[in-house]
Point group: C2
Chain length 336, copies 2
DNA sequence: AGAGCTTGAGTTACCGATAACACAAAATTA
DNA sequence: TAATTTTGTGTTATCGGTAACTCAAGCTCT
């Protein structure tokens, strides 16, 4: 591996002079600067960021941790975060926790040992508190994305889950549905709690009773639990509409419904949070509350960079972004 | 920041002893081991991977570079690669080149300066050769994914583009289409060339003439260039079917067609390479040649790890995975 | 012309970890 | 019991960079 010492020797200067050329620091005569530059090119020199990070105690590396890399919502966040980081001269490491607390923990350990300058963190749930405390203990700035974690003070970028949920459920009520089920994420996740609240409020406003037997809590990551759907459908008076707390749950639900010979929206209407990627624009089907994912990433990253560059002690900001109701064809009127 | 020296002092041993405890190397009495462990816990110690990497000259870090993080094909690859890396005790850094040669170059520079142990590389095109040479020059093992790069000897995991293209076009011919357009990626990309070859072969086998005015070359990343579609549609005898070389191109094409008041598949049939994510399973629409993306990632990662651990000098392997024709509703018979 | 300042370098120490070597004390062997 | 081996631990040098200090030579100024 080529080091500054190799360059130094070949250019007949000291290592320090090479370092100065690399960093444009100190005073160097134009002649030596040129000479050193030429040798660097010739030898194809690339600085060792470990050595540099070790002495400088910073890396110009940021980390983005998302909970599901196959979910378009999060990949769009990634795009926003990356564009913004790049603009400020930071490189970005992506991490994927797969909604798995264990993987999240592993990833945080890697972050810590890599000594990144900051983390944009989409938590798996309230239990992520421990990870965030860990970051705090080690003095690494972070900004939280998408889900609030009680007990932590820092910048947060959130969607308005309650409002979005209310819009979705009101839409269903407006179509004449009276039995609306909620297939929710885990109550350990703030968005799931708020979506439940929004659901309840909408029912209340619509003069409908809250029937807890219509509410199921699963995991955002995937809908593996067909049994829970079975429970809903086996009810004496089964739901005519289902509000899925996120896009992947909706996918699972629709597939399970079809396996049971029910079709959407003829037999059951389905709505959910978060849009799909390009696929959905081609053949729009699901009625969703779409959140501005790119903005999540871009704003979050901006807050993070400010937080890093202004040093500690800045007060916490909380940004809440609205979601947009996109009515498509997975919902229809119910008048039976 | 807590270092082994802090631990050493508090545990009344030398730094070296702490290092031995961390790495389970050398001989340590059970008593000191326990004492050191306890202090490490108390002080919440996390090893500094930069310092360690500097002396060990390896990082247990691998890098995955994909060309589009919002394309489900690549995120599924990421999932496969990550699962496999994890199983061998490697951490994975994701990078996203956005089909942009400049970003790819930046990313390779970061990789080089981070001194990762290996790279799983989905090239943007033939020009990536320079990047790969760079990796080679610095002795970093890599495996190429999805697209061949002429001039480089290493392991490659590819889809069978020619065969897939032929299946898609044969399907269209079978439906009665005679004027089939190809909206391709850049000829700088191996898959685009092979898909063109497959297209040509299918036409030949089907007894249809090859009309170069029906072939357009764009960029895989996105379909911004509506003018090219305009050219196709303005032909004296416009195409009745379009073969898009990848999923994102297909999305753009369909949107553009609709804006012109044409519907799919009534007026034009559309097929493409690569499936969409979960969204497509809910409301299947596009007829595609689906590639086993998870396998791409998993196999590629496996080859990479073998390559790293067996040292240099192993001969190059080339794995070609078949694609599967999924006939859905974006295609229909043509008998006018 | 001598004092003081600039300029363009070089020296040394250190960041946090580990390899290689060294060595006293304890255990084993002859 | 003396010689040898094993065990447990410490010392020193090093990885590739950079900060802080040093210093000779050339300039500027009175």
């Amino acid at each position: 591996m080529i080091t500054i010492y190799d360059i130094a020797e070949k250019a007949n200067v000291s290592a320090m002079t090479v370092s100065r050329v690399i960093n444009n620091s100190g005073r160097i005569s134009e002649a030596t600067r040129k000479r050193v530059r030429k040798v660097m090119e010739e030898l194809n020199y690339i600085p060792n960021s470990m050595a540099r990070g070790l002495v400088l105690q910073k890396t110009k590396l940021l980390s983005l941790l998302i909970t599901d890399i196959t979910n378009p919502f999060y990949t769009t966040i990634a795009r926003g975060a990356e564009d913004t980081a790049k603009r400020s001269g930071y490189k970005l490491l992506f991490g994927n926790s797969d909604e798995d607390y264990g993987k999240e923990k592993d990833y945080v350990e890697m972050i810590l040992s890599t000594r990144v300058d900051g983390v944009l963190f989409a938590p798996t749930g309230d239990a992520s508190l421990e990870q965030l405390r860990q970051l705090q203990k080690h003095g690494i700035p972070f900004v939280i994305l998408d889900r609030e974690v009680p007990g932590i003070e820092t910048d947060v970028v959130l969607g308005d889950s309650k409002e979005g949920a209310r819009k979705l459920v009101e839409h269903l009520i407006g179509l004449g549905h009276r039995r609306i089920a909620l297939v929710n994420g885990s109550p350990d996740v703030s968005t799931a709690r708020l979506r439940y609240t929004g659901y309840r409020e909408a029912l209340l406003l619509g003069g409908l009773p809250l029937d807890e037997s219509l509410v199921v809590s699963l995991n955002y990551r995937q809908f593996q639990d067909e049994a829970s759907l079975q429970v809903l459908l086996a009810l004496p008076s089964p739901p005519t509409a289902i509000f899925a707390a996120n896009n992947l749950l909706a996918v699972g639900i629709i597939q399970a419904l079809r396996q049971k010979g029910l079709s959407v929206p003829e037999d059951v209407s389905v709505v959910c949070f978060d849009d799909f990627g390009p696929a959905e624009t081609v053949n729009p089907f699901l009625t969703v509350a779409s959140q501005p994912a790119y903005q999540f990433g871009a704003l979050g990253m901006q807050l993070l960079i400010e937080r890093i560059e202004n040093g500690p002690g800045s007060e916490s900001r909380k940004i809440m972004l609205p979601s947009e109701l996109l009515i498509r064809s997975s919902t229809r009127t119910w008048d039976r």
